[in-house]
């Protein structure tokens, strides 16, 4: 009966959306470092800890006012709640029960409740015996007033700060990373101290005129000397003792230097890693971003344009010098090889990315990146640069949606320039936004004022924009002439006045920036 009740509860919890969302919420607040709420919670806890510790320190010598008791109670309640919440979040009891139940059903054996309870206990004890949980528990203790000795645990309340501060976590991470070196150093130092204290004890015992009364004094002296602190409360008087002291000081200097270098080296190694981590965390937050592979001449120009358009983008580049340039501009850059799947995945090809641009100066690499990107995401638009005309076909085969050939366009423009210099200026100006005049594509949104109107009624001339044509794949327009095939669309050049615009048609217009932006605003606002 009890077993059935427990099973019923476990399954209810598993299916209850409310339970899941509540747990998810607390998980976000307490553990998800990406979550904004967590940073607020951390700040709140840090304030609580600091104020409560200050109060307890004040109470050491002074008598605290009445209200502090309530404050302390409040702090402890929050701590206890947090402790319990963390133990709750640590694992799902109901899933352990369900797992055991399913196992028992499969094997056709009865479900032993005490076995399940044992499993749960052993699972949860993993939390209770973890270092941070022990610190949490000890941090609660100092508020038990009758036992003043518990005040020592105040220190643990300060340790609790570690949980909420990332820089401390980074520091411990660095120390853990250099465990081997630090242990070696500690062992060496331990030996040195033992040898030195034994030597000084035998040389400087009181009868020989020295100040070392016992081994404890010798040990204390050795530590003070090796650390190069040298209080001078105990000084060697015999010449033998002085030799020991000199040797110890010199080795102490060496050890200190060694220790410092280990820590500095570890930080140097780790720092770039931490920066990368930060960049990766930033990337995870991005949506609608563009992956830009290659930050050479072309990549830099594109990055600048994207930046001006306030478009999110992630650069992937292998060359260290170029990475530095991008970092100086505060662009998000992954110092990685874009031809590796992992780097594209990190840049968010499955998540936030909306397009991939391969613009390295090497066609082979561009083909390879295109192929990898296409395999990772079959639908993402890929635009690839081809330096040689013969590679265009290969890029399309690899899965590029469009290719751009720098020298080919340059060649075409140059030819255009010598044969039609004025038309060249017009195109060049439009291509480079040099002039105040631009060519733009405006989409006819559903239910906007253009949807369903004829061109004569729309009278685009009143907005000081001129319509070159309409790009569409709506079959309704096929009766009109002057249709040109434009990729997967039809382009109706110079459409007749009775041409009726439909939703999703794209107007290709020319006009001043001001008038085109104005028309676009009207289209956008009229749809509501």
């Amino acid at each position: 009966m009890l077993t059935r009740l427990i099973l019923y509860l476990a399954y209810t919890l598993k299916t209850s959306l409310r339970y899941q969302s509540t747990k998810g919420f607390f998980r976000n607040v307490l553990t998800n470092s990406q979550c904004k709420l967590k940073s607020y919670f951390d700040l709140f806890m840090i304030t609580l800890i600091i104020s409560s510790v200050s109060l307890l320190l004040y109470e050491v010598e002074n008598k605290a006012p009445e209200w502090t008791v309530f404050f302390e109670d409040f702090v402890v309640t929050v701590f206890i709640f947090e402790y319990l919440l963390r133990s709750w979040l640590y694992s799902d009891i109901h899933s352990i029960i369900i797992k055991q139940h399913e196992k028992a059903q499969y094997l056709n054996t009865p479900l032993h409740l005490n076995k399940v309870i044992k499993l749960i206990i052993s699972n949860k004890s993993g939390y209770f015996f973890s270092a941070s949980a022990i610190i949490d528990l000890l941090a609660i203790l100092p508020s038990y007033r009758p036992l003043r000795i518990l005040r020592v645990f105040l220190v643990f309340r300060l340790f609790k700060l570690f949980r909420y501060s990332q820089s401390v976590q980074i520091f411990t991470g660095v120390l853990i990373n250099k465990r081997l070196e630090l242990t070696t150093l500690a062992i060496f130092m331990g030996f040195l101290i033992i040898i030195a204290s034994a030597a000084i004890y035998t040389l400087e015992y009181p009868k020989a005129g020295g100040q070392i009364d016992d081994l404890y004094d010798a040990f204390y002296w050795a530590i003070v000397t090796i650390s190069t602190v040298g209080y001078g409360d105990i000084t060697p008087t015999t010449s033998g003792g002085r030799v020991v002291a000199s040797t110890l000081i010199i080795s102490g200097l060496g050890i200190l230097a060694f220790f410092t270098s280990i820590i500095v080296a570890a930080f140097n190694e780790k720092m770039s890693e931490f920066q990368d981590c930060k960049i990766r965390a930033n990337i995870d937050k991005l949506t609608d971003s563009i992956i830009l592979c290659g930050y050479g001449r072309v990549g830099q120009e594109i990055a600048e344009q994207l930046h001006n358009n306030q478009q999110n983008f992630i650069i992937i580049e292998t060359n260290e010098k170029l990475v530095e340039i991008a970092k100086k501009k505060n662009y998000i850059i992954l110092h990685d090889d874009a031809s590796k799947n992992a780097s594209l995945e990190q840049a968010g090809i499955h998540r936030g990315a909306k397009a991939v641009l391969c613009v390295t100066d090497d066609d082979i690499i561009n083909v390879y990146i295109t192929l990898s990107a296409r395999q990772l995401n079959p639908t993402i638009p890929i635009i690839s640069r081809a330096n040689r005309e013969d590679n265009v076909k290969k890029l399309y085969q690899a899965g590029a949606n469009h290719t751009v050939q720098p020298f080919s366009i340059a060649g075409l423009l140059a030819t255009k320039y010598i044969n039609h210099p004025i038309a060249f200026e017009a195109i060049h100006g439009i291509l480079h936004d040099h002039t105040d005049v631009k060519m733009d594509a405006l989409k006819v949104h559903e239910n906007c004022f253009l949807d369903g109107t004829t061109l004569i009624d729309a009278n685009l001339d009143q907005y000081k924009t001129r319509l070159i044509g309409v790009s569409t794949n709506n079959p309704i327009h096929t009766e009109h002439k002057n249709s040109y095939k434009l990729r997967n669309q039809h382009f109706y050049f110079n459409p007749a006045p009775n041409f009726t615009l439909q939703a999703n048609d794209v107007l290709i217009v020319i006009g001043r920036n001001l008038s085109i932006d104005h028309l676009q605003d009207i289209i956008e606002t009229s749809r509501i």
């Binding site: 020298f407 140059a414 480079h432």
Partner: protein, 233 residues
């Protein structure tokens, strides 16, 4: 327009596409390079080519700069070489049309200062093109099909000849879209200088002989229009 003689300095992957295009448009040109291997390659491809050191003024003069060379393309590997070439050529011929390629953006100003009429930065063009493909693909395709003439649609410039029916008419009276199925992009009104005025309905221009119309339209419509206004070739 094939009577002009064009000199191209530098035979490499960058100039290759230009040469292909010039061949398509039947322009006459000579390729020059200081590397005999490259010259051999060009000759093997059936092109007119000659080994030449761009550093010597005598060589440039003997080539015809200052006399019958009309256009000079500087497609040498380094910006510094191109600047030097532009400078030498400009000193020899004030009217020469000089077009240079540029690799680093900071060299652009230097090339202009040295006397280049036009500089072409393939990387900049490429990045703009990529950006355009990303943000306004329709425009990009349209430009591809007009400038780069994959389709019948074409952008062309027409100089109004003497005694044309267009003389003394106004741009507002042209009505090119209705009468000829053409789109007037802009006009160069010689009375106002060499500047291209985009036709945006802001300003009316009186047309005279020598003014230039930039139009967009189907090849045959352009031909028909040219014939009607009296363009001979």
């Amino acid at each position: 327009m094939s009577d002009k003689l064009i000199a191209i300095f530098g035979y490499n992957s960058k100039s290759f596409e230009l040469i292909t295009q010039l061949n398509i448009h039947k322009n006459k040109f000579t390729i020059l390079d200081h590397d005999p291997l490259k010259i051999q390659q060009a000759l093997n491809n059936g092109l007119t080519a000659k080994k030449m050191d761009y550093r010597r003024d005598d060589d440039l003069t003997s080539l015809g700069i200052g006399t019958h060379i009309d256009t000079l393309f500087c497609y040498l590997e380094h910006d510094s070489e191109n600047v030097f070439l532009v400078l030498s050529a400009r000193a020899l011929d004030k009217k020469l049309k000089i077009i240079s390629i540029v690799n680093q953006p900071e060299s652009a100003e230097k090339l202009i200062a040295a006397g280049a009429n036009k500089i072409i930065d393939p990387y900049e063009i490429c990045s703009h093109k990529t950006h355009q493909l990303l943000t306004k693909p329709d425009i990009s395709w349209l430009l591809d099909d007009t400038i780069f003439s994959h389709a019948d649609l074409n952008m062309s410039e027409i100089t109004i000849p003497e005694k044309s029916i267009l003389e003394n008419t106004f741009t507002s009276e042209l009505n090119l879209n209705e009468r000829y199925n053409l789109f007037l992009v802009g006009v160069v009104d010689k009375e106002l200088g060499e500047k291209l005025y985009f036709s945006l309905g802001e300003q009316d221009h009186k047309l005279d002989a020598g003014d230039i119309l930039v139009i967009l339209g189907a090849q045959q419509d352009i031909k028909k229009f040219k014939k009607e206004i009296g363009v001979t070739h």
